[in-house]
Symmetry: D2
Subunit: 295 residues, 4 copies
C-alpha cells in the first residue's frame, strides 16, 4: 500500500489500555497556561511508565472562567497509579504556577470514574482554610494561596483509553525524517481526545538481549546507524533515520484517527521512504492497530 | 532598609544543602534543545522534593560538538536520590528527544564526586551495542538510537550546593506582583551556576495545623486573600498579592548574588510594597541568608 | 455604566473606512508560517498609515494545501494604495520565506473587488517561467523559486471595512494596565474578521499644537505622566497608565464585537479604573462606535 | 575545496556598501523587547531595498537602563534614505510598543556620522512636551506617552558597512536544505555586528529576460524545480533545493566571519551537496567576497 508514494507496511501497532485524566488548566494569560501545562506534563517519557502531554489550547471564550486555557492528559496503566499521578502533577505543576485554575475536562459520557480531590494533597494543602463553593456553574474547591484563591473541580473524570498507538517514520535523510516527524506531531495535535509528546528517537524493545535485567533497551533492528551489523535489521537499504510517533487517546477511534492524520502528514515530506509500526508479539497489551485498516 | 523605595525586611531566607548535577544538552537546533530541557526539568516543584531547571543557553560556538545547547541542573537532598534522579531525567527527557547529546557541565574545580553512566539505565539501554569512544576531546558513551548515535560523557559531576534561597515579593496589585516576579526570574536567569523554576504562588509551611499528617500546607500567614481572618498574618495592609522566588545554586555565593539581582529587579516595578523571605525556625536546613547582608 | 466594576465612559470611538486584503499564508511548518506572517505584517503602525496584522491561525486540516497556515490582513485607506501595499507585502514578506504559499482568504460574499496578480511584481518575478495551473480546486500562479514552486491565487479579494475602532484602558498601575492590554489583545485575536497589532503606548492627536507642521503628535491629554501640567487632561486622579487598543476589521459588526470582547477582558484585571475611547471631532472619518451601545 | 565533505565552489559573493544604524531597544520584559524588534525590522526583504534585522539579545545587566534588550540594525544604500528609514522604523515600531526605550548602539569608533533626533517625527511627536535630560549617563529625549516617558538618545550613530554578503546552500532534499539554512541562520546570529533576516527562497537576478521592465526576477539558473528546462542551469544533478543566506554587517571582516561560521554550520547537515555564492558581474556593487578566501 502506498500513500503519497510512500510505502505503508502491512503491519500493526501494538497498543495497550491505559487510564487517563483530562483536565483544563486556565490562567490569566496564555503564557502562564503554557508554563503550567509544560510543568505538569514534563519529566515523563522514556522509561518513566507515565504518559502526559498537551492535547490542545482552549480559547478564553470557551473556558468556564473566561480565561485562556490548555487541555492536558495524564496516563498510567494502573488505576491507583493514575489517581496518584494525576493529583501529584496538579499539585506540583499547576497549583504553584501563578494564577492557575483547574477544571475537569473529561466529557461526562466518556467518564469511567472520578478521582475525588477530597483527602488528596491538593485538598490537604488548604489546611482547613479551603472551602467548597459554587462557581462557574460547578462545585469547586477554593484554596487560599499567596497570590489569591486557587480553584479546582471537586472531582476529575478518568477514562480507560488507549496508549501506545504508534508508527515509525523511515526517511532517506535525518533532516527529512525529522521534518516529517515535526509535521506529523503538529497534525496529530489538531485532533481531539489524543496527545503525542514528541517524536521518539529511542525506539525500545522489552528487556535486553545482552543485558538481561534491563527493563527496556534500544531496538537495534530499527537503528539505521548500525543496520549493517544487525542480521535481522528492519532498515530498508535507503533509510538513514527513523522516528517513532506514539499516540495516546481516550478511545481506539480517536487514536486511529490521529494516527491516520499523522501518517498522512508525514508522507507529504519528500525523502520519506516507508511507514511502519512496532509491536511486541502481544507482550505489551494486545490491542492491535493495523496500519492498512486505518488509512 | 529600602531599595528603589521598596522596604526590604530585616529577615533571613532559610536554605538547605542539596546535591546538584549540571549538564549541557545539545541538539541540531535550539528548538530541540529546548524541548529536551523542558522535558528533563519538568514535573518537579510543589511537593515533589525534586528541584530541576534551566540555567542558561549555550551558543553553538561554545559547545563541545558545535551545536546549540542549554545547561540544566537537577537537585535532590540525598546523594543516592540525586544519582538516580539525574540518570532518570536524562534517560526520560534527553535520550528520546531527536538529535540530542549530553555533556557534563560541572566545572572540574566545583565537582564533589562523579556519577558514572556505567551500569545505569542509560548505558544498559545500549544492550551491548554501545561503546566508549574518544570524541570532542572527551570519553563518551556512543549508544545507537533510531535516528543516529546518542553521545553522553562517561561520568557526570555532582556538587553539594544550596537549595531554597528565597525571597517574597509583596505587591499592591496582582498584576504588579506578577510582573515583578517575571522580571526577577529573568534577571536571575542571567546569573551563573543558579536556576529558578518560576515564581511560586503556593507558599507552604512544613506540616499542617488542621491536617496534622499533611506534608506541607498553605502558608496562611502569607495569603493576602485571607489576611483578615489570620491573626498572625504577615501581610501588610496595602499588599494584595505575594510570590515566592526560590533560587538554587552550586554555592552560597552564587545563590546570594542571584537573590540580590532578583530582588533588585523586582523593586524596579511600580506597585511593589515589600521584599521579605521565609524561614522555618531552622527546621529545614539551617543555612541562613540574611537579606540585608546580601544587598 | 460599569462592567466588572470598571467605569465605561459614555463616549464613542471614531473609526474610518479602510480597504483590506485578507490572505492565508501556508508553509511546511507553523514556524515558517509565523516567520512569514510577522515579516509581511511588520514595519507598520505609528505614523505609517498602513495597518497590517495577524488575524488567526489555520489548522492544516482546514487549509487548501493541507499545511498549517495563518490569516493576515493588510489595510490602507485608498484603494490604489491598498492594491500596491498588498502586493508589496506578499512580494517582500511571503515570497522569499521558505516553503510558503498564498491563498485568497476573503470570503466571496464579502469581496468588494479583486486585485489581480497579473502584471504585478509577483507575477513578473516569474520572468516568463511562471504559469497558471489548476490546483487545490483553484486557479493559481506557479512560480519557480530556488526551493520549489511558489503558489498564489490569481486574484485576491478586497473589502472596504472599518479601521480605528478603539478603546483606552486606564489603570491605576503600569503593570495592571499592561496586563489588561495583553489580555484584551489575546481576547480580540479569538474573534473573526478582525485584527489588532498590539497595545499602543503612543496615543496621538492629529497635527500638533506647538509643532504645527507635525502630522501627528502625542495626545498630551491622555499622558498620565504629565497630567498635572495639562489643564484639560482626561486622566482621572487615580490613573497612572493608559494603553490604546486599535481594532480593524472587515465590517462594523466584527469590529464592534471584537471591541466588546476586548473591553470585557480588560475589565477582569484588578487595577483597571476606566475604559474610554478616542475621537477627533469627526475629522478622521466619521464612523462613530459608541461604547455603551456595543456592550 | 571541501568542508565536512561538502564542495565549496571557487567563486565570490558580490556585496555592496550600505549605511547602517544600530540601536538597542529595551523594555520591561523580553517579550515586549521582541515585539518591538520584530515590528521595527519587519516588512523588509524581497524587493523593498531595505535591510533590517535583529543582531542579538542584550542581558538586563548589560543595558544602560537595567532592562532586557535587543540590538537591531537598519540599512539602506543611500545616506538620506537610511536617515529617514531609521527614524521611521523607530517611530513606527518602537515608540508605540509598551515600555520601550531606545539607545544608540553604534560603537563610537565605528561611527561614521550621527542622525540627530532633533526635528525628526520622533522629537516632533513630543509637541513641545518633550525635553532633553541627563539619564543613564547620556543625553536623552524624554517624551511623554500614555504609559509613561519614552527615552531615546539624542543622536544615533551610522556606519557605512557591507550588505549582500551571501552564500547559497544546495541540498539533495528540501528538508536537509531547510534545516541547514536554519542552522546557518542561528550560527550567524551568534556573531557580532552582523544580521541575517532569514533564508531566502527567492533568489533573484537584476532585471528580467522576458519581462524587461521588471526590477528583479527569479534567478532561474538556481531554481532546481525547473533545472531541466534551463540550459545554463547552475544546479548540480543531485540538488533538489537551494536557499540563499544574505549577511549584512558593519564591516567586511564581520560579514566574512559570519559567512564563514554560517557556511561551516550548513555543511554539518547531512544531505548538503554544495555551497556557492551569487554575483552579478559587478553590477551591484563590486565588493567581492571569495568563498575560498574566508574559509
Amino acid at each position: 500500500m502506498k500513500m503519497n508514494d510512500v510505502e505503508i507496511e502491512d503491519t500493526f501497532a501494538e497498543a495497550f489500555p491505559m487510564y487517563f485524566g483530562r483536565i483544563l488548566i486556565t490562567a490569566v494569560t496564555k503564557r502562564w497556561v503554557l508554563a503550567s501545562a509544560q510543568s505538569a506534563t514534563g519529566g515523563v517519557g522514556g522509561a518513566s511508565l507515565i504518559e502526559a502531554g498537551i492535547e490542545c489550547n482552549v480559547d478564553s471564550k470557551d473556558s468556564p472562567d473566561g480565561r485562556p486555557g490548555c487541555i492536558i492528559m495524564v496516563g498510567r496503566t494502573k488505576r491507583k497509579e493514575l489517581n496518584r499521578e494525576l493529583i501529584a502533577r496538579i499539585r506540583n505543576g499547576v497549583v504553584p504556577v501563578p494564577t492557575t485554575a483547574t477544571f475537569n475536562a473529561m466529557p461526562e459520557d466518556l467518564t469511567d470514574y472520578f478521582v475525588e480531590i477530597r483527602n488528596t494533597p491538593i485538598q490537604l494543602f488548604g489546611d482547613g482554610y479551603e472551602e467548597i463553593v459554587d462557581i462557574y456553574g460547578r462545585k469547586m474547591y477554593k484554596i487560599p494561596l499567596m497570590d489569591g484563591f486557587y480553584y479546582i473541580d471537586t472531582k476529575l473524570g478518568v477514562k480507560k483509553g488507549v496508549a501506545g498507538g504508534n508508527f515509525l517514520i523511515m526517511g532517506r535523510s535525518p533532516a527529512a525524517t525529522l521534518l516529517a516527524a515535526e509535521v506529523a506531531v503538529k497534525a496529530i495535535r489538531e485532533m481531539p481526545y489524543v496527545f503525542i509528546m514528541r517524536p521518539a528517537a529511542s525506539g525500545s524493545k522489552v528487556g535486553g538481549k545482552t543485558y538481561r535485567d534491563a527493563g527496556s533497551t534500544t531496538n537495534e533492528r530499527y537503528c539505521a546507524c548500525i543496520a549493517e551489523k544487525i542480521k535481522d535489521t528492519r532498515i530498508p537499504s535507503d533509510v538513514r533515520c527513523v522516528y517513532e510517533m506514539i499516540v495516546n487517546g481516550l478511545s481506539m477511534d480517536s487514536v486511529k484517527n490521529a494516527m491516520k492524520v499523522g501518517i498522512k502528514a508525514a508522507t507529504t515530506i519528500e525523502g520519506i521512504e516507508k511507514i511502519t509500526a512496532v509491536n511486541f508479539g502481544g507482550v505489551l497489551g494486545g490491542l492491535k492497530i493495523n496500519l492498512h485498516d486505518i488509512l
